[in-house]
């Protein structure tokens, strides 16, 4: 088998291409399998009655696990809280980032470069490390358990990267059209709203979806700043799952994980269908 492949290879003009194609395909399939195993576990465990930890074909499929977690306290409220927090924060981040990106992209201002360098620098700061002083700050400002305060802080954590991405997307919109509008007396904000944004909505959507996905999975911030169970989003309540039913019920945990993951999976599918995939986002990362 290998010999024939080898023989065929030698006879082609580009030696090694066929072999490398086979190797590349095999490698990717292998990586794909390794990556999908944990996901399959959650799906299987969620529909199996009393599953162990290992991946196995469910002996009897049932929606018992879903039935027992789908109630206000366990699932609906935490998910709704998450939508308020992450959705609100995403909205604030995107609006602020669009506004900030405009002068950075369109005007040559003295502080552009230092500002961009600061933004780039703060994308790198480990937000985790800021959580101790942020907790202190929130205690002193009496903002612990404040959804508004937590939302604003979450929005801020997403802001540096969002500004950076948004500016890169905005740089891709040619400036000629706007210059014509400026000559006609339109203000910068008018030009941004009527000319630039309509041309870059896919970029705005990528930034929004990316920000939301990141904040939806964020655990540490709400874990520290929201103490009442009634206010906590799914990212935190999933963690308290363990104690609630005595021992760990992996079936329910899995069912909850599926419910909690659904919104971001749906957004991801939307992103890849409508916007040419996350690969568009990858392009914006080059800097």
């Amino acid at each position: 088998m290998t010999a024939t492949v080898g023989g065929r290879v030698r006879s082609t003009a580009r030696p090694g291409v066929v072999t490398s194609r086979i190797v590349a395909n095999l490698l990717l399939v292998l990586i794909g399998v390794a990556f999908i195993v944990p996901m399959l576990w959650v799906l299987y465990a969620s529909i199996e009655e009393g599953p162990g930890l290992a991946v196995s074909i469910p002996t009897s499929a049932s929606f018992e696990n879903f039935r027992s977690v789908l109630n206000t306290d366990t699932t609906y409220r935490p998910i709704l809280n998450g939508i308020y927090l992450s959705g609100g924060a995403t909205l604030i981040t995107v609006v602020c980032a669009v506004l900030a990106a405009y002068p950075l992209s369109r005007h040559k201002m003295r502080f552009n470069r230092p500002f961009l360098m600061t933004i780039l620098f703060s994308t790198g700061l480990p937000i985790t490390a800021v959580m101790v002083p942020v907790y202190g700050l929130f205690v002193q400002l009496d903002l612990i358990d404040s959804v508004a305060g937590t939302t604003l802080f979450m929005a801020t954590t997403g802001l540096p990267f969002a500004i950076w991405l948004m500016k890169n997307f905005m740089d891709g919109v040619p400036i000629d059209l706007e210059e014509a509008a400026w000559v006609d007396g339109a203000s910068g904000m008018k030009a941004l709203w009527h000319i630039v944004l309509p041309l870059m909505w896919p970029g705005v959507a990528v930034v929004a979806i990316f920000t939301f996905i990141r904040l939806w999975g964020e655990f540490f911030i709400p874990f520290m700043l929201l103490l009442s169970p009634d206010l906590q989003p799914a990212s935190v309540t999933i963690f308290t799952f363990f104690g609630q039913y005595g021992g760990v019920n992996y079936g329910r945990l899995a069912a909850f994980s599926v419910m909690y993951s659904l919104p971001v999976v749906a957004l991801y599918i939307l992103l890849s269908r409508k916007l040419g995939g996350a690969f568009a986002f990858g392009g914006a990362l080059k800097g």
Binding site: L53, A100, P103, R113, P126, M131, V132, G136
Partner: protein, 291 residues
Amino acid sequence: MLRRATRGLPLVPSVGLLLVFLAGPILYCFYAAFTDMALTGSGATGNEFVGFDNFAKAFSEPAFANAVFLTLLFTLFSAVLGQNILGMIIAFSMRRTNKIVRAVVGSIVIGAWVLPEIVAAYMWTAVLGDEGTLNRVLEFLRIPGQDWLYSNPILAVSIANVWRGTAFSMLVYSAALSEIPSEIEEAAEVDGATGWWRVWHVTLPMIRRSIMTNLMLITLQTLAVFGLIYAMVGEGGASGKAQTLPIYMYEQAFKFSQIGYGTAVALILLLVGAIFSLIYMRLLNPGKEAT
């Protein structure tokens, strides 16, 4: 003139948020790290300045040295080696595979990135736990298994972090590779440069900037990983073996109520992050191309 002055106005909301919620806490960090602030005990009543005591304590504490070592190990294994190299292998392979394999595997890998941190933690607890999938596979192969979360927690969390973060490197490298003009590689091929030689001497130097950007971002992301490790290993018996700096900081500040000392650890973590950020910013040097 008025127009010039109002040009910067759209920056105000962003600057305001960043000053209050990012610069503010960082400055507060510089203050609290030099006090004996605590939630309970003597420091709870008044915060006294203690100079560099907190830092002296950190550098003499074996648990702190342990946390630094584990953070380095975690970052090296899961980011610099794991995510970076695996992401690069996937991106390179994708150029030679058929469309369907590429689309399916790409979606799976990005799917792992999209899923929430804590869900990822539970998935890997399930795979690497005592009765987990990995042990079943090993059992089938007649290799004795073990509870990886207890025997080698730093490896377990590194694997989980590679799984979660590889998509990012894959996207960065796919974007970088797609921009290399095919003539250059074809020319190298015509000149007789094949396989590894071509990758090493032609392709990699061309995506050097992307490699640096990527290394910066994933190292900084990995330094800050908290939820994944906290959920997988928690504060249980194995926690000391996977206690990276963020976990150590959390434990000192909130479990032992030593806010001052915890903040000092946070400040060290921030400074390490800042140094990395500055080094890679120099390598990236965005001012040259931008504007």
